[in-house]
């Protein structure tokens, strides 16, 4: 008589019941740790400043990550951060932060993503651009009013940008306080697999 299966059927995963407790907790970490060790975690940042001279003015920072068709890589968004600040009079400024599916940039400049594994020479397969104009087109995923300071939204891979698609983000700060210099800054973190 053949042996029965020792555990579950051999076409099934092995069902396990973890018995760790608070005295011996399981140690786990988010996927970004593995991605950075594998040198596939990338950052990009941009900022824009404006001096308020006469009337209401804005400082606009936009970034687009475009995943070309046939790139062979998929982008998993880890985190998107936006911040606004000024030289003084922070109560006299306002800001907004937008994340858009698709979209395009006006007069874009090329950004070179930074590998979060500082010893790696691996480079991103994405086309990353910045602009000091607003995003054109696309479908808004998130929109926020900002207070002066930094704001981060973690996604941990829950926005996926496959080949042939793109994602844009934008931070805009505005003020009409004459003499105030306002700054908008924007950063994205993602892994490619």
């Amino acid at each position: 008589m053949p042996n029965q299966f020792v555990f579950n059927d051999n076409d099934q995963p092995l069902y396990v019941d973890m018995v760790n407790t608070f005295q011996a907790p399981d140690i786990s970490a988010p996927p970004e740790i593995s991605a950075s060790q594998a040198a596939v975690l990338y950052s990009t940042n941009t900022s824009a400043s404006s001096l308020v001279v006469l009337s209401l003015i804005s400082a606009i920072a936009s970034i687009r990550i475009s995943n070309a068709s046939g790139s062979g890589k998929t982008v998993y968004i880890s985190r998107i951060s936006g911040s606004i600040g000024g030289s003084s009079l922070l109560s006299a400024m306002s800001g907004s932060f937008t994340i858009v599916k698709g979209g395009t940039l006006t007069s874009p400049a090329t950004l070179t993503p930074t590998n979060n594994n500082l010893g790696s020479s691996a480079t991103s397969a994405m086309t990353v651009q910045s602009s000091t104009a607003a995003i054109s087109g696309g479908t808004t995923l998130f929109n926020y009013q900002l207070a002066p300071g930094a704001f981060t939204q973690n996604f941990t891979g829950s926005i996926i940008v496959p080949p042939g698609t793109a994602i844009c983000a934008n931070v805009t700060s505005s003020s009409s306080a004459v003499g105030l210099t306002i700054t908008s800054a924007l950063g994205l973190l993602w892994w490619e697999q």
Partner: protein, 178 residues
């Protein structure tokens, strides 16, 4: 005589103790990561000016017999002034514009089976309140990660209200469904 089970009984899960350390942590992720890979993570944003008479309302309604259950992932809101309130309501009545949920996997053709509406009229129907938060200027993110479950025939509503005056405001809700 048949073999005994080597570890636990073969009808039971194998009891294991995870012995990873900080040097070699196990990698795990939130359910949203898997839901997005499956093309089943969706969201609706809404931006408007909130006034006392015109709140910002998003309702995600799971139709009876949809065959799927909704799990709330995240609710966000923001305001340009203080004294704005974010509320989450159970089974409110909302009449508004039907909107199409956005798939967070940009390459997925899957669509949500939920009925999503945005409105600037106050919800009715005497709904129960799940969450009520008074906001400062700026954004807030409330992660639920499945803590709110919406089976067929139920709905979840986010509402951004202001006691007096008006303010630029936003809200959004994201969820997975299966």
């Amino acid at each position: 005589m048949p073999n005994d089970s080597v570890f636990n009984q073969s009808s039971q899960p194998l009891f294991t103790e995870q012995v990873n350390t900080y040097v070699a942590p196990g990698i795990d992720s939130a359910p949203e990561g898997g839901a997005a890979k499956a093309g089943l993570l969706f969201g609706i944003p809404f931006t408007s000016t909130v006034t006392t008479a015109a709140p910002l309302v998003i309702q995600i309604s799971n139709p009876g017999g949809s065959g799927r259950t909704l799990y709330v992932s995240r609710v966000t809101a923001s305001s340009a002034t203080a004294a704005v309130t974010l509320s989450l309501l159970r089974n409110a009545t909302v009449t508004g514009t039907t909107v199409t949920p956005i798939n967070y996997n940009f390459g997925s053709a899957l669509t949500s089976v939920m009925t999503a509406r945005t409105s600037t009229a106050a919800p009715t129907g005497g709904p129960a309140t799940l969450v009520s938060l008074l906001l400062a200027v700026g954004p807030v993110i409330v992660d639920f990660t499945g803590q709110i479950v919406v089976p067929p025939g139920n709905s979840i509503t986010t509402s951004v209200t202001i006691a007096s005056g008006s303010s630029a405001a936003t809200t959004s809700i994201s969820w997975w469904e299966y």
